[in-house]
């Protein structure tokens, strides 16, 4: 009896150890790239994610040596707080176990945490990094914010000065009034 309990005890320990070893190996295999943001913060990022960034791909094409972790790839137009958000987004969307509903919830929360200025900042960063999925998500989200808003809201949102004379503006509003386009 005693012998038996002994052996059953050591069994799981052994597998856990093996599992741990395996994990270590996969972690070693998952190569990382060093990215440096405009405010000089360096990030070690999984290559599988970093290589989704068009700007990183392009940099590595020009200077392949940077794929060795020692050299940081500079991201001139991305600040660290934006890169943190971008990585959060891609880690979630890359996560194999994430279901459609998880992603939807994540996207909603992700948006809710951003104010309009941060949203535009992030769009600029996504554009610079050339990350398609996030770029589409952000442009679509901004479109959703403004789609039912009035012209004045849109001007404020984007910081646009009205360069029409009052007469011109009235004329354009008249032009589309028949189509039931409301100008609040």
């Amino acid at each position: 009896m005693a012998e038996e309990t002994e052996s059953t005890k050591t069994e799981p320990l052994k597998t856990a150890e093996e599992e741990f070893k395996k994990l270590e190996i996969t972690e070693e295999e998952e190569s990382e790239l060093k990215l440096e943001t405009s405010d000089h913060v360096t990030f070690m990022v999984e290559a599988s994610i970093a290589m989704k960034f068009g700007a990183v791909q392009q940099y590595l094409e020009v200077s392949p040596a940077a794929s060795a972790s020692a050299t940081a790839i500079p991201l001139h137009n991305v600040a660290s707080r934006e890169l943190i958000l971008i990585l959060e987004y891609y880690r979630m969307h890359d996560w194999v176990d994430a279901g459609e509903r998880d992603l939807k919830e994540f996207d909603e929360r992700f948006l809710k945490d951003l104010n309009y200025e941060e949203l535009k900042e992030l769009l600029l960063a996504a554009n610079y990094l050339n990350v398609e999925k996030l770029f589409n998500f952000l442009t679509k989200s901004i479109a959703n914010i403004i789609r039912n808003k009035d012209v004045e809201f849109v001007r404020t949102f984007f910081g646009i000065d009205n360069d029409y004379t009052p007469e011109e503006e009235a004329a354009y509003r008249e032009e589309n009034a028949w189509a039931g386009v409301k100008f609040v």
Binding site: E117, K120, E121, L123, L124, N127, F135, T139, K140, I142, A143, I146, R147, N148, D150, V151, V154, R155, F158, G159, I160, D161, N162, D163, Y164, E169, Y172, R173, N176, W178, A179, G180, V181, K182, F183
Partner: protein, 328 residues
């Protein structure tokens, strides 16, 4: 304040529906010129981030057409749902034979008889008011369809068959009956290759389809044949799920649950996003059914009653900002 460069503004605008874009022309001059740019209109249509479908109803005697949002409740009269759109100038001041002869990429093809068999055509974008006239064409207006040749960015008006052709996958489609054996067949005219091909009907339908109750429809992006006999409580709906794949014809029934419908000749027009069926059962009445055949709502429009073929005269179109490029 972060100011986005114009190329990013344009990317955002591409993802807005047509009606928001028309409103936002007033934001500033540069937005006006982005939204008015024909290339932008094309990108916007092709991206289809926010496609919105409307139904243009046959005209009253007046100079306006009624356009309704197919997704909205039929009784919703709000200004964003029901539009009264001024018609483009036609020759004869909107006499009752101004007809909808086709629909393609947000354009409606209107015909107006001048003299016997001489017609004015107007290619009209009801969303923007843009229109182009083709004057004095000698043809029979029933023999016509309107399609788009993507290889040349050309719009093609085809003169050939009864009832207006339906545009799908680069081809115009008509349901015709072969005179030698009285069987029905779908004729497809590829507007790019200028070639005619035939699509066979499912065998059960081929012989019966000479009956005028069979209708060709494009629904849910598929070629469909619908049939609703008088005094039968069922609508037969044949969908060709894969284009030109004969084995993909799928039959489904919509069984009407209310007594009234058994006696109507309901014909579907399209599916809404929720999978409801929008259709009409006489020259005036629109009905919405769910997929179980339950009547959700109906509405009789106070429109002119002259019948063309006993069905509501209407044109389904997706809102677009497109104009015709070049002079063809």
């Amino acid at each position: 304040m972060i100011i986005l460069p114009e190329d990013l503004i344009q990317e955002i605008l591409l993802r807005l529906p047509v009606r928001s874009l028309l409103r936002f022309k007033c934001v500033c001059k540069s937005w006006h010129s982005i939204v008015s740019n024909p290339q932008f209109a094309k990108f916007h249509f092709d991206l289809a981030a926010e496609p919105t479908n409307r139904l243009l109803l046959r005209f009253s005697q007046g100079s306006k057409a009624k356009s309704i949002d197919i997704e909205a409740p039929l009784h919703d009269e709000s200004t964003s749902v029901v539009l009264n759109i001024p018609l483009p100038p036609l020759a004869l001041n909107y006499r009752c034979w101004t007809r909808i002869a086709g629909s393609c990429r947000g354009f409606i093809l209107l015909t107006d008889e001048l003299l016997d068999f001489f017609f004015d055509f107007v290619i009209w974008n009801p969303s923007t008011g843009y229109h182009k006239r083709i004057n004095n064409v000698p043809m029979y207006p029933d023999l016509c369809g309107f399609g788009y040749d993507s290889s040349n960015d050309d719009y093609v008006v085809v003169n050939m068959s009864p009832s207006h052709g339906l545009f799908l996958n680069g081809a115009l489609h008509w349901l015709v009956v072969k005179s030698h054996d009285n069987t029905g067949v779908i004729v497809a005219f590829d507007v790019m290759e200028k070639k005619l091909t035939e699509i066979s009907l499912p065998r059960d339908v081929a012989v019966a389809s000479k009956s005028k109750f069979y209708r060709l429809r494009i629904m849910g992006g598929c070629v469909c044949i619908c049939f609703k006999g008088y005094r039968t409580p069922m609508l037969e709906l044949w969908m060709m799920k894969k284009y030109k794949v004969q084995s993909s014809w799928t039959k489904s029934f919509v069984r009407f649950t209310d007594h009234y419908h058994s006696f109507s000749t309901f014909t579907p027009i399209c599916f809404t996003q929720n999978g409801e069926i929008l259709g009409s059962d006489d020259a005036k009445t629109l009905r919405k059914l769910n997929d179980k055949g339950e009547l959700l709502e109906h509405r009789t429009h106070g429109l002119e009653t002259r019948r063309f073929d006993g069905l509501l005269h209407c044109g389904l179109y997706r809102e677009s900002l497109l104009t015709l490029s070049g002079s063809n």
